[in-house]
């Protein structure tokens, strides 16, 4: 691990000001996807600002009838929250499908959104990777790419976003609340939070340097049958090959977002008009312009079949 200096922040304003001012500074909360990357020197912060004492660990209902989830709420606590279990079941299910009991106790809501990809070439510092070292090339293109993206890919990167929680946040139309280094707050719709790789795969989200996520808010409950179906190589404790987050209403309309297929949670609102026409039509709209490799072409059919299974389950 490279050397860094460490400090516990006492206020949000102080934390963002410092993060913007010190070159190479990073926030640390749960640490479950920062400490491991620091050990292999994929992440090399010069300064760590510990934000665990900022009181951002509360879940509250808001005046709009929605839920405001503090950035530091642990994955276990969010999944176990009564409001979430009752009104946002897809979120609880997505969280519980991810990681292990130990990691869910450590990992935070904001940190989950900011997870780095699990592309093995991103972790292997002996291999070229445009995300880790811009301009060096992509080892996954032409390499072993069974886990990789099939939509929204570029010539620079075919990595996927590894989060389960973020897929549920996307289908629920969550909003990310932040504080910027100038002390002003802003809100970012989840649809605009994560970026596609294009030719800058090292830029994964729309936060500015030093900008801190303070909360994630959910709009008021939309009801429906809420399902998160994760398909993976093991029954537990594995990243998704693909996953489907769906909210299906009684009349057969609804929403769907996919995990494991793109550099960000994948949702195509226009395609959801075809939900009542069944899995084939819905999948065709969701995965239009897909670009697969020999290794991951199976994901297209897997998405269709998983959606069919989910729609069937929703019928009850």
């Amino acid at each position: 691990m490279r050397g860094f200096n460490y400090e516990r922040a006492n206020s949000i304003a102080e934390a963002v000001a410092k993060a913007a001012h010190i070159k190479g500074a990073k926030f640390i909360a749960g640490g479950t996807n920062l400490v491991d990357l620091m050990k292999i020197q994929v992440e090399t912060p010069t300064y760590l600002i510990d934000i665990n004492d900022l009181g951002l660990d509360k879940i509250e209902t808001n005046p709009e009838g929605g839920l405001r989830i503090g950035a530091l709420v642990r994955n276990t606590d969010l999944a176990a929250n009564d409001h979430v279990r009752r009104d946002y079941g897809v979120l609880s299910r997505a969280l519980l499908a991810g990681a292990s009991g130990q990691l869910r106790n450590q990992a935070t809501t904001a940190g989950n959104l900011l997870q780095r990809t699990r592309c093995p070439y991103f972790y292997d510092t002996n291999m070229p990777c445009n995300k880790r070292e811009p301009g060096t090339g992509c080892s996954a293109i032409g390499g072993y790419s069974r886990q990789h993206a099939i939509v929204g890919v570029s010539d620079s990167c075919i990595a996927t976003h590894p989060s389960d929680m973020a897929i549920a946040m996307r289908v629920l139309d969550a909003t990310v609340e932040t504080m910027r280094p100038n002390g002003l707050t802003r809100t970012i719709p989840i649809a605009q939070f994560h970026k596609l790789p294009e030719n800058t795969p090292h830029i994964e989200h729309t936060l500015e340097p030093g900008e801190l996520i303070t909360a994630v808010t959910l709009p008021k409950p939309v009801g429906g049958t809420q399902i998160y179906r994760k398909v993976r190589d093991r029954a537990s404790y594995a990243f998704a090959l693909i996953s489907v987050a769906a909210i299906v209403q009684r009349d057969g309309t609804g929403r769907v977002a996919l995990g494991g297929v793109a550099h960000k949670p994948w949702r195509v609102e226009a395609a959801e008009r075809d939900m009542s026409r069944g899995a084939k039509a819905l999948t065709a709209g969701l995965l239009a312009n897909s670009h697969t490799t020999h290794d991951n072409a199976f994901k297209v059919l897997l998405v269709e079949r998983t959606i069919a299974s989910v729609l069937n389950e929703a019928k009850g």
Binding site: M1, R2, T46, A80, Q102
Partner: protein, 215 residues
């Protein structure tokens, strides 16, 4: 800055970052060694004075901020029950209980754990006064080589508390109800602890025994 860090060690640390032994041999002073470093690289992080509360005892330690909780427990406090398996948060061998919750100690820094209550396998029981989970692991042979066992036991103890507290899991059928105390739940919830010997079925029997005794 610490008082006991000898200058030779500083020199080695500095030169190690600047490019290895060849570069180091050509440089005559520490000042020269420093001058070739990239300015933003922190070669000598300020050590941090922390108070760690482990198994009910307080320990004052001066630690490099890079030190994980696992390394602090093993290397500084000689609590070698917690094991370093993968050191990547994937195997669960380093599981400890912090403020009543199980975490992997390899993915948290010692400096982040000041003010928290840390329980390791050494704090759960002793050879003459075993924790019920330790006794059950022995009775049911919940191990072969034993390397993952401290992590398995810490994880199992805190896992049962999670079920009791009503935390649902991936296999909980109805999210609006409290989860059940059964093997399907326990198996899913213990998936973060890998056993290379494959003692899983005996581990599950040990956990079931503890639940039976408590019920």
């Amino acid at each position: 800055m610490t008082t006991f860090d000898p200058s030779r060690r500083k020199f080695i640390q500095t030169t190690a970052v600047s490019g290895g032994a060849v570069v180091a041999a050509r440089l005559t002073t520490e000042a020269e060694a420093r001058s070739v470093l990239q300015p933003k690289q922190v070669t000598e992080p300020a050590k941090v004075d922390i108070l760690l509360r482990v198994n009910g005892s307080e320990h004052r330690l001066m630690v490099d901020p890079r030190m994980t909780l696992l390394d602090a427990l093993r290397e500084r406090l000689q609590l070698t029950g917690s094991k370093k398996g993968c050191d990547q948060g994937q195997c669960g061998a380093c599981t400890v209980i912090v403020d009543g919750r199980r975490i992997v100690s390899c993915l948290t820094l010692a400096v982040m754990q000041e003010g928290h209550d840390i329980i390791t396998i050494e704090g759960l029981g002793t050879p003459t006064n075993l924790h019920p989970m330790q006794a059950a692991f022995i009775k049911h042979d919940g191990y072969q080589c034993g390397f993952c066992t401290p992590g398995q036991i810490c994880s199992a103890v805190a896992m049962l508390d999670e079920v009791k507290a009503g935390v649902p899991s991936h296999v909980t059928a109805d999210l609006t109800r409290s989860p059940e105390m059964n093997t399907i739940e326990f198996r899913e919830r213990m998936s973060g602890n890998i056993c290379r010997c494959g003692a899983y079925s005996n581990i599950q029997e040990a956990i079931a025994e503890v639940v039976g005794e408590r019920a």
